[in-house]
Structures are given as structure tokens and as C-alpha cells.
Amino acid sequence: MERTGHHPQLAEHFNRDEPRVNWHDETLWFIRSKRDKIANTIPEWEELREIASQLKNNVLSNLSEYLIAFEKNATRNGVNVHWAADAKEHNEIVHSILQKHGVTKMVKSKSMLTEECHMNEYLEAHGVEVIDSDLGESIVQLAKEPPSHIVLPCIHWKKEEIGELFQKHLGTPAGNADPQFLTNAARLHLREKFLTRKVALTGVNFAIAETGEFVVCTNEGNADMGVHLADVHIASMGIEKIIPQRKHLGVFLRLLARSATGQPVTAYSSHFKKPRIGQEMHIVIVDNGRSRQLGRKEFRNSLKCIRCAACFNTCPVYRRSGGHSYHTAIAGPIGSILAPNLDMKQYADLPFASTLCGSCSNVCPVKIDIHDQLYKWRQVLVKEGYVPAAKKVAMKGMNNILSKPSLYRTAGKTGRWFLNHLPFFVKNKFNPWYKQREMPEAPKQSFGEWYRKRKV
């Protein structure tokens, strides 16, 4: 997959096939609607978001102590704890564990951290075959692509294309694009891998300081199938996955799946505390720029993210530009805050891939001020001289109002007024968001307005 170019060019590429863009847009909006529907059934939803947000504030404020406690408790549980300062060190640690066991084949369940570290590429270059076992991830892996969405890795693929891909790689009959049939083909194919692999790697959704255990959430059961049949379990986690106590899972597990897919909880929420008899368990705690982000006062809140992808599904720019246009492992609004921390030059375009409409902040289960942070990155990037010239003109020309969160509420109204009364003002070639596409119909009221009304 080409990952060259910046968001506007990559988005333009994605936008060449308009029916497909519409389909992508509608599919994600459908998931966003499911999230709304289920969130509305919980009377204390807003209180839960507030508690989750405060819990994460506590975690960030006490992170070094929590990590030390987690390490101590995990070690006492018989787990080997490793620390990786960056992606390279993470990959080397994983490779050294494989080497120690003389293993060259591994199954892996979904872990965006290993995507961030480009672990598969690293291990493949060292002669290790990594099989992604999440269905969506195995589809993009067969297609030699990165995931385009953190929860739904192949959301940009049509079933007919998956049918063709499976025909080529798994030998399914031509022309069969039935999701049930294709899922079963993948089940049979991967079952053999689960039964024969000696090492399985998983991500971590939550790591509990108090007990040293960690929780992995999946719907497919692929993480559990991998690790309970393997001799060695490796779990990779970012430093920010810590939560204080087990009971706090009650808050996060109530929010996570409802925000992500509109489900009441994932099919499996597995708590790993000790290796089973005869098994070896490793946890790799990865920094890779996170401790630096913690020191950026304006941006540290991005570390509260629990990777539900609600901000992706609701984002008008993500829905109409596709995950790959963000050219980074974690796309969408939150990815656009995380990426410039890793490399300001390479990802200077991403904080501009937003209308700053604020819908992301409104749905975020841990109440990250996503659109405010995107705006703040723009200021930092302009000041540091990383902003492309065309973007600057466009920004000066019309984005002045739209990019000032202090004026956000009024600006939303103003923006809608412009769309309805002076469409040419927004629909011109200086607006980077009006290339090759119609601007959306202006809604009669913004989500914020609607929401405030709904509350009273």
C-alpha cells in the first residue's frame, strides 16, 4: 500500500470513487448511530464518561507509581515484565523471546501498538512469520495493507473484493462473497494456526496496577484461542493502559463496546493474571513517545484514549477520506493528535484533517477535548514552520472562524449560515475540504445544540 503523500492528496485519491466514499461514509455513520442508541439507554451515561475521564486524570497524574506497582504485582504473579523505550526496542524484545524458544511462527490478535511499532515487518525481515488472527486484520494482512480503522480494520473493503482475496489466498470458490461463508473459511484456515503455533501475542486494553493483571477485549475470541493453546503468551501494552483497581473495569467496560460498536460489551473480556501451568507469560511495556506527550500540557489528555474509535465513526473527514489517508497506524481524530508527537514534520498535515466540528469530543467516552487539541496542534505547527503553504492561505482565507474553539459554538452557527446562504464562500478551491466533493448539507442544528436541547 502506498502511504506516500499527505492527507489532502491521499483523501483526493480515496474520493475518486464517489459511490464508494458514500458507502464508506454511511457504514460508519450506521455504527455511530448504534452507539447513540445504546448510550441513550443508560441514564448515567454522562456520569460514567465523567468518572472515566477523572479516573484517567488520576492515572496520568500518578503513572510512574502505578507502573511500578503493576510491574511488582505482575512479577509476583509469575509474569516477565519488559520495558521498551521505543518501537525498535519493543520489536527486539519480542524477537528475542521468539529466538529463545527457537520459534519462527507466531499468531497475533489485534494490537494497534504492534502496528505503531511496525512489528510484523520487523519480524518478517528476521525470518518470523506473523499470522494476524482477527478476521479484519487477516483480510488486510492478506492484501498487504495496514488496517484502516482501529476497531474495524477492513471497513474500506467490499465483500466481493474479500471473496476474490480469499479465492486467491485460501482457495474459496470464485464469486462467493457471502460473509457467513467467508468467515467460516477464515475460521478453518486460522484454526490450524491456533493449534500449531507455540507463541501468541496479544494487545492489552487495560492493565490493573493493584493486581498486576491485564484485560483483553475481543468479539471473535481470537486472542483467547491463540494464547490458551500456546506455550508462550506475549502481551504488548502502552504505558497509558494502566488503571488503578479491578473494580474500575466496571466503568471502562460499560463504556468501551457501547462507544465502539453499540454492543453492550464485547463477547470476551478476558482477565490474564498468571500464566497457566507450564506456560510462560511476558508483558512488554512500551513508551515510544508517550512519556514525552505526557509532558506536553496541551496534548497529554490524548493519552486517556481507550481506543474505542467513536471519534473515527463520527468524524465527517474520516468518514469521507478513509483511514489510509492519515498515513499513520492510528488514523482519525485521535490519531491526528498522537502522530505529530512522534514526528511533527511527517504528520504536520493531520491536525488540519478536521472541520473542528467537535463531534469527536462529544462522543469520546473519556471526554478528551479532541477538537481543541487539534486546533492547538495547528498553532504549534504553524509556529514551528511545518505547515504547507496552500494550507496557510486557505486557513487565513476562511478558516479563521472555524478554527477558533473559543468561538466554536458561534462559529458552528456561522458556518452553517455560510453553507446555506453563501455556498461559494465555502465551496471554493481555497478550502481544502471542497476539492472534488460537495460540502455536506448543513444540519439544522449542530450535535452540541441538539444535545443541549435534549438534556433540558
Binding site: N219, E220, G221, A267, K274, D287
Partner: protein
């Protein structure tokens, strides 16, 4: 300096001023009857719930719904007459051809149709995942209303592995079409004992 020290000292320097751990206040359940809610939600996540009165009913339902099951595995005394027992030393791979695994769960959650299973009870961690079909026996009084209530019960529980399972294994990765039986069980049945 090792990576560990480097990471921890950067974090310590960069972490903001201490913020308290918030209280989780007691939320009243947003429904009246926990058992009814469990049945409703368990259905919505693709599960098959049955409220039963006796062990005999469970055995009859298993015969009725899994007539072709060749290998039924369970350590539950309720169904010992129709299932094979197993021990902790069995190789997990040896359960690859299990048609139905039956387990008793001592905690279920009404709001999300999840049941709590831990390795003190199941011994072989792979079993609820590798079996083609999964069935769980729950005593009605063990259904908690919300996840907060559930975690209050298990806050200090000792285990090596534990999991909340809510319905059969599933995926919607292909065009958002829901398919049951991704990698784990294709069906999940709950027998709720109202005795």
C-alpha cells in the same frame, strides 16, 4: 540508564499534579428485573437463554438442541450423566473436537448478558473457546444488575485467568454483516435455574 529507569524518570518529571481517584457512586439499575433483563440482552447478543426449574430439564434441552453432539465435556454435577469429565492436566489441544462444553457460572450480568468464568472452575482455559458450542448454567439469584455490582463481588477474587463471556464468538468485519462463530463457539446457551 536502562530503558525502565529512563521511561519511569521521564514519566515522573512529566506527569501532572496529583488528581484524586474519583468515587464510583451507586447507580440504580435502569431496569426492574435482573433475570428478565439478562434474558433480553443475552438474546440480543446472539445467545439462547432458557429459564428452567430442574436439572432434568437441562438434560432434556441439551438432547433436544444438540442431538448430534458426539463429545460433551463438563465438570458440572448437574449433567454428569451425559458428559465426560476432565482434569487440569489434560492437554488443551485434545479438546479440539469438543462439540459442547457445559460450565456453571456463579456470576452473570443483566445489563450486558455476560457470564463470569474463571480458571478455578474451568481448569482448562481453552475450553470455553475451543468448543464448537458453549452452554452455561446460572442460578437466578447469581445475576447481578450491572458491571459495578459484578465487580463489587469479584474485586478481591483470586484467579489466574477469568473472563466475561457475552454470547457466542462473533464478527462483523465483512461489511458489518453479523456472523456468529468467528473463532470460538458458534452458539452460546444459558440455562437459568429458577429453583
Amino acid at each position: 540508564m536502562s530503558s525502565r529507569e529512563k521511561i519511569l524518570s521521564t514519566i515522573k518529571n512529566n506527569q501532572p499534579e496529583f488528581a484524586e481517584v474519583p468515587e464510583i457512586k451507586k447507580f440504580a439499575p435502569f431496569f426492574n428485573d435482573a433475570c428478565e433483563k439478562f434474558v433480553e440482552v443475552f438474546k440480543s447478543v446472539g445467545g439462547k437463554p432458557f429459564v428452567v426449574k430442574t436439572q432434568e430439564e437441562i438434560i432434556l434441552l441439551i438432547h433436544e438442541h444438540f442431538p448430534d453432539a458426539k463429545r460433551i465435556v463438563s465438570s458440572c454435577k448437574e449433567i454428569s450423566s451425559i458428559a465426560d469429565d476432565y482434569t487440569i492436566t489434560d492437554d488443551p489441544h485434545s479438546f479440539e473436537n469438543v462439540d459442547l462444553f457445559v460450565i456453571e457460572s456463579k456470576l452473570a450480568v443483566a445489563e450486558n448478558g455476560a457470564v463470569w468464568i474463571n480458571d478455578n472452575d474451568i481448569m482448562i482455559r481453552a475450553l470455553p473457546f475451543i468448543a464448537a458450542h458453549l452452554a452455561v448454567i446460572i442460578h437466578k439469584q447469581n445475576i447481578a444488575a450491572t458491571m459495578h455490582d459484578a465487580y463489587n463481588k469479584i474485586a478481591d477474587m483470586e484467579y489466574g485467568f477469568a473472563t466475561f463471556i457475552s454470547g457466542p464468538s462473533k464478527t462483523a468485519d465483512i461489511e458489518q454483516a453479523l456472523v456468529l462463530g468467528a473463532h470460538g463457539p458458534k452458539t452460546m446457551t444459558a440455562f437459568i435455574l429458577n429453583d
